[in-house]
Amino acid sequence: MIFNEKFECMGEAEMKKLQSERLSKLVSRLDSSSPFYKKRFADTKAAPGKIKSIEDIKKLPFTTKEDLRDAYPFNLFSSPLKSISEIHVSSGTTGNPTVVGYTKNDIKLWGEVMARSLACAGAVPGDMIQIAYGYGLFTGGLGFHYGAQELGLTIIPCSSGQSKRQLKLMTDFKPRILACTPSYCLYLAEDAKELGLDPKNSSWEIGSFGAEPWSDAMRCEIEKTWGMSATDVYGLSEITGPGVAHECHLKYGLHIHSDVFFPEIINLKTGEEAGPGEPGELVVTTLTKEGIPLIRYRTRDIVSIDYEKCACGRTSPRISKIRGRTDDMIIVRGINVFPSQIEHVLLNIEGTKPHYQLIVDRKERELDELEVLVEVEEKIFSDEMSKLKQLEEHIRDEIASVLGICAKVRLVEPKSIERSEGKAKRVVDKRKL
């Protein structure tokens, strides 16, 4: 079913008119209510009054991750804090996380786009859904929750982890839909076998998988192993969380809800609009958000876009699976990790910036493992074994505290980490995604 036909099947001319109205209203609202954007418009000489049509969006400045970093915690909010109903955080590039805020209307919007997304995947009111994305500061769990509620599903709010319990509830409650990271889904298959369950007999018929990149090969493996339809969900907390785009049952790209999240694809070299079908950086403008609306936010995800109407009946454009990043961010167990965060941790611990490298690997059907190599230079070397062990532990604890993941720390000899002439190779990703 299509959840909201009015918007999801809207004709091109009507959509352009709607987007133009929304953009014009947004820009004039920000010019008066957002000190950040008022200044940004003035600095870049973008004339808010001259923004009448959606085509005029090119005249507006971009917003970047660094802007969010510098605005920590609430300086990019466009509504008073008292009207912010919910706050979420996600990884930042340094020690501070990225903070986003939702007014009541923003939460309703989130529910709306997630309901559309779940319907895209094939869910219908009355279905039962097992939400195994983390609930809490991470946007995954709650985003799916609001969407499922809006669509009229029966929710099992499992959150992540406790695999044996997840499988027991699946066996006893028989939910039709599963929502979790794709690697967790395959990980569950191993536990299922140990419990003597045949994954093919599971009640799950549809999966909505995301929060990390995953290939078509992985899709095939999930579908074959579990006997379910595996669909892709895309999102980022800066825009709303999960629900920015979702695959329909035809799996020919992810429908992006362009009436509220206006997409542009930017050529990386020129900063101009990419040609038709050409991959580039996805830039999103939130046309109706109130808490932390963003103009031309650079997502750092590289995709291509298709504006042809889909055979499912939806006219919303379709973005491809994420083909890469413009920065060096990696995703480990669904969590965003910036190598610069590790640098920040090391600098705080030792006051030095030793050479380091992140090694990410994933054994078959296991979860991601992160190892951080740190070169032992004189300043941090101790003759005492216990002190070196303590240093390892301290680094590990700080990484867990700042990044929210458990990494293994290995002390290595100086010069053992490859030096490069240009940018240092901070990440070695051994995973075959």
Partner: protein
């Protein structure tokens, strides 16, 4: 009376210890005592050598991470109970030992042990008061 010991960080990779010793040997530096404190991924090699200043410069120039620690070389009676006797004295005076290991050669007719003390100066005072011989760096060269 303290002696300088070299500590070197080595990854637990095949050949690293050989490369270290080969470097020292090639540059005519003689090893008097050596021990390795190990963990699964790396080890700390502790050495007493005859030319420590030259050694540390050499190691740094060849990308080894190394530093210098003060240790005490103590003469131990070469008979059963020799070591226990020293330890009894140290224990009684509340002197804490971090680690210890043996020299390759003897000092005259006594065994020679390397001690790393939490408080080396106090340890030397206690040992000498109880008649134990401490070997200084000048005499190490001759061992």
């Amino acid at each position: 009376m303290k002696i300088k010991q070299l500590s070197v960080f080595l990854e637990n990779r095949s050949g690293r210890l050989y490369e270290l010793c080969e470097l020292l040997g090639r540059n005519k530096i003689n090893i008097k005592a050596l021990t390795i404190a190990e963990s699964p991924e790396f080890g700390i090699v502790r050495l007493v050598v005859d030319k420590i200043e030259k050694a540390i410069e050499l190691l740094k120039a060849n990308s080894f991470t190394a530093n210098i620690t003060d240790i005490v070389a103590v003469e131990v009676g070469d008979q059963p109970g020799g070591l226990a006797g020293i330890l009894k004295v140290l224990n009684g005076a509340g002197v804490n030992i971090e680690y210890m290991y043996g020299f390759v050669e003897k000092s005259k007719d006594k065994a020679l042990m390397v001690f790393r003390f939490e408080d080396p100066d106090r340890a030397i005072e206690v040992l000498q008061k109880n008649g134990f011989g401490i070997v200084g760096s000048k005499d190490i060269a001759g061992v």
